[in-house]
Symmetry: C2
Subunit: 374 residues, 2 copies
């Protein structure tokens, strides 16, 4: 049911085809995030039109609202949100550690309070798998514990628990039409990352995720961790770098052997009027755009750039029209998806490594994550 075929390699970078029950993914791939079973402000028709092939949704959010049982009763996530293409859910682990009001971790799981109403809930590895089975995404994640990446002692404990939980998740899994990925943890500690990569690689899973990065560490730390991890992973399994990222992060990730990315950044930036562009990230509310008849990005082929001027997008922002967020979301998502298309073509042609410095230069001023972005 799941097959990963590498079609081209450029040193550590790979292009491939990951076969899922809802269609083939050409990798490297960027997945828009539909946290609550919707990519914010976009219809699935718009998400499809901008070239997305994989959409991520969040287990923690859907468990709380509308409830995974409701989603299951309504035919599963693909049917519920009318995205009949590949989908991925995370395990809820990251949200329990970042969003929930309070949490108590023990060997069997995590008890936490909902960020919505303060009600008390408990996730265990088994429960996370059961919820993800109810949701029914093609790619699901093992339940993991996220640590302070700079705390070696805690990162080690959390990593070891994540390993034990990964084995429990594999045993708990019942559906044959879902690919469960183990998650490599270990903070920004090279020894832990190496140990985690080795352990997760030893498990019988169709793919491997790398978690706990893009959580505040420096770019250099993230790259160093990827340089430790990916050489220890099997070549024949897709590698998913969770929650990453910016155009620059994607290029740097592919260079280090990553196949799958997701991030809320394109849609979150859009709601804050910020657009990716080869000129650097643009604040579309800037007064300088008031008379600017160019599209956001003259090189872009998205509906927004093919249709509207910067002046119009700026007007929508100033006039507080929600359509602004929709139009910039379309552009920002298309920018990353088009970048991945370009990267796949370069890998297929065997020229990605020589093109990468130019791509990084082109997108460099889109890389910063400003306070409030995350």
């Amino acid at each position: 049911m799941f097959k990963f075929q590498i079609t081209a390699r450029n040193n550590r970078a790979r292009a491939g085809i990951f076969t899922t029950p809802h269609g083939d993914l050409l990798t490297p791939v960027f997945a828009p995030v539909g946290t609550q079973a919707a990519v914010k402000t976009l219809t699935p028709a718009q998400v499809k039109e901008l070239g997305a092939t994989l959409v991520l949704s969040n287990t923690y959010h859907l468990y709380l609202r509308p409830g995974d049982d409701v989603v299951s009763e309504l035919g599963g996530l693909h049917r519920f949100m009318r995205w009949p293409y590949p989908m991925l859910t995370d395990s809820g682990g990251f949200q329990v550690f970042s969003l929930a009001q309070t949490r108590q971790i023990d060997e069997e799981g995590v008890t936490f309070k909902s960020h919505i109403d303060g009600s008390t809930h408990r996730f265990t590895p088994q429960r996370s798998i059961r919820i993800q089975e109810n949701l029914g995404a093609d790619i699901i994640m093992a339940f993991d514990e996220c640590s302070d990446p700079n705390d070696h002692a805690y990162s080690k404990l959390a990593m070891e628990r994540t390993h034990r939980w990964a084995e429990i998740c594999i045993k708990a899994k019942r559906r044959g039409d879902q690919a469960l990925f183990g998650i490599v943890q270990g903070g920004v500690q090279a020894d832990l990352r190496a140990a985690s990569a080795t352990f997760i690689a030893s498990l019988d899973t169709p793919g491997i995720a790398i978690g706990g990065l893009s959580v505040g560490e420096t770019k250099e730390e993230m790259h160093a961790m990827l340089d430790v991890v990916t050489p220890l992973l099997p070549e024949n399994k897709p590698r998913y770098l969770m929650g990453v990222g910016t155009p620059e992060d994607l290029i740097n990730g592919v260079l280090r052997g990553i196949d799958i990315f997701d991030c809320v950044l394109p849609t979150r930036l859009a709601r804050h009027h910020s657009a990716f562009s080869p000129e650097g990230r643009l604040n579309m509310m800037n007064a300088s755009f008031a008379h600017d008849e160019r599209p956001i990005d003259e090189t872009c082929d998205c509906y927004t750039c093919k249709t509207f001027t910067r002046a119009y997008v700026r007007h929508l922002i100033v006039a507080k029209e929600l359509l602004a967020g929709t139009l910039i979301s379309i552009h920002n998502l298309r920018a990353l998806i088009r970048l991945m298309e370009q990267v796949r073509n370069y890998i297929a042609q065997g020229i990605f490594e020589e093109k990468a410095p130019g791509l990084l230069e082109q997108w460099k001023n889109n890389a910063s994550r400003e306070p409030g972005d995350g």
Copy 2:
């Protein structure tokens, strides 16, 4: 450049073709409102897809933001908002009287303060025409004064001034590619409405608008005024009932000889989670929809109803996803546009009068305008 051809009549109801520089309008027609050069939460591609042919935009809002000079410099409203089909602008009169913070009326015009920043501005009939010429809609309106409809003395003064201003607007108009409509006023006073209809009908304009209705009067009063006005209007000019309305209002308007309608109601209701349906207006946040796999309206052919369940739409509302407003807007607008398609077909077949009671029965529970709707 403008031609109105009546293709079928059923007593006072008419079906026709109104030719404009940006395409033919099949009448009766309902126009979605794009107050600030955008139909709220929808792309022009979505507005087109749901069958809209005419879009209204508001002169007062666009004059204030981004400025009619900016819109003109950017190629006019059609090009600015990328709606290359027929467009209509109002004169700004209604907004000056309903939205502006303060206003002082004199014989030459109105001085008012912006509802956005309190800055002082002045509209005169000439200025309203000049602004509308900068905006460049196909159909434009004479500058009018709106009165308290129940105050006979004030309504008479306002009506007489509206008549003088209409003549000034006709003289001020310079562009040959815009159809200027005079506006019938007169509150809910039958004698004034008759005098106003007679006067406005005597002017050389390609169409006639009826203003000052749907502003708080009863349905019976609105119908009575239409019964006074439309028999006094020339048959060969399109009649536009401004700011109306509900499905029931549209059916009742067509029965009384109206050809063009516009209203913010479909998109405003959508943002308040309220959907038109033959079952009556539905509050889509209602818990009863949590597991409901039916579309909003099983008889509807819109993208929303062809694609999504009530359960999903409700989930989006509960989860505060803006996509809910988009999806319900598509449905509500399509409901009125489809109703007008049905009405045109009935008129063409000569059966509208016999079908009207059934249509009114079908849509009756969508008619009420709740506090906060307008």
